[in-house]
């Protein structure tokens, strides 16, 4: 079946640095991609999404990049803060079906 995976299971960055979390997907039919943030003991929270007709989308301190040629998705967090420490999941899908990756744990150190 199709799969979504992450290159790095854990990422440690210093406060103030930029973070980049990567995700590979294999379903070329996917047309919708989302990043979620999950803090300990909580449900996933939406961060940003992107449709397949775009290759970049920016939010507040976050940017999502989509490279359909190599089926790669990345989340960039600018000026990472301690509150950004969490597990980040990418998800890809088409229609209502969303397939989630295993997540990357981001640890922000002072």
């Amino acid at each position: 079946g199709e799969s979504v995976g992450l290159h790095l299971p854990t990422l440690s960055v210093q406060e103030g640095d930029n973070s980049i979390i990567n995700c590979a997907y294999s379903n070329s039919a996917s047309d919708y991609f989302i990043w979620y943030k999950q803090e300990s003991g909580k449900g996933p929270q939406f961060i940003i999404d992107i449709r397949s007709n775009m290759d970049k989308r920016q939010g507040q301190r976050v940017t999502v990049l989509l490279n359909k040629t190599v089926k790669h998705l990345s989340l960039q967090i600018a000026a990472t803060q301690p509150g950004d420490s969490a597990v980040y999941f990418c998800a890809e899908g088409s229609g209502y079906a969303l397939n989630f990756g295993k997540g990357t744990s981001l640890l922000v150190t002072p």
């Binding site: 979504v4 919708y32 989302i34 979620y36 003991g41 909580k42 449900g43 996933p44 929270q45 939406f46 999404d49 999941f89 998800a91 209502y96 079906a97 969303l98 397939n99 989630f100 990756g101 295993k102 997540g103």
Partner: protein, 111 residues
């Protein structure tokens, strides 16, 4: 309510017992999902409801798992004859299309 509400937040049960997990979606959201998250793992799709359409049950791991959605709103996930491998966080999400809004989850521990 303002968000997706799930209950109970924690459930400890003995192997072989049945459990029911409840989800109150955001009012007006037509789509409702159940996912399972095992420790340190990603989200495993279980079931999807959309309006009055037949649900997509393709993710249910066995016939011990079932779910209902009454009146297009509240949903109940039932696990019969629980096994230790059923221990996980069960997440419910609702949507109007696109972004999914998740609840805090129900943590199930089967002893």
């Amino acid at each position: 309510g303002a968000g997706v509400s799930q209950s109970p937040s924690n459930k400890v049960t003995e192997k072989g017992k049945d459990v029911e997990l409840r989800c109150d979606p955001i009012s007006g959201h037509t789509a409702l999902y159940w996912y399972r998250q095992s420790l340190g793992q990603g989200l495993e799709f279980l079931i999807y409801f959309q309006g009055n359409s037949a649900p997509d049950k393709s993710g249910l791991p066995s016939d011990r798992f079932s779910a209902e959605r009454t009146g297009g709103s509240v949903s109940t996930l039932t696990i019969q004859r629980t096994q230790q491998e059923d221990s996980a966080v069960y997440l419910c999400a609702s949507s109007l299309g696109g972004e999914l809004f998740f609840g805090e989850g129900s943590r199930l521990t089967v002893l």
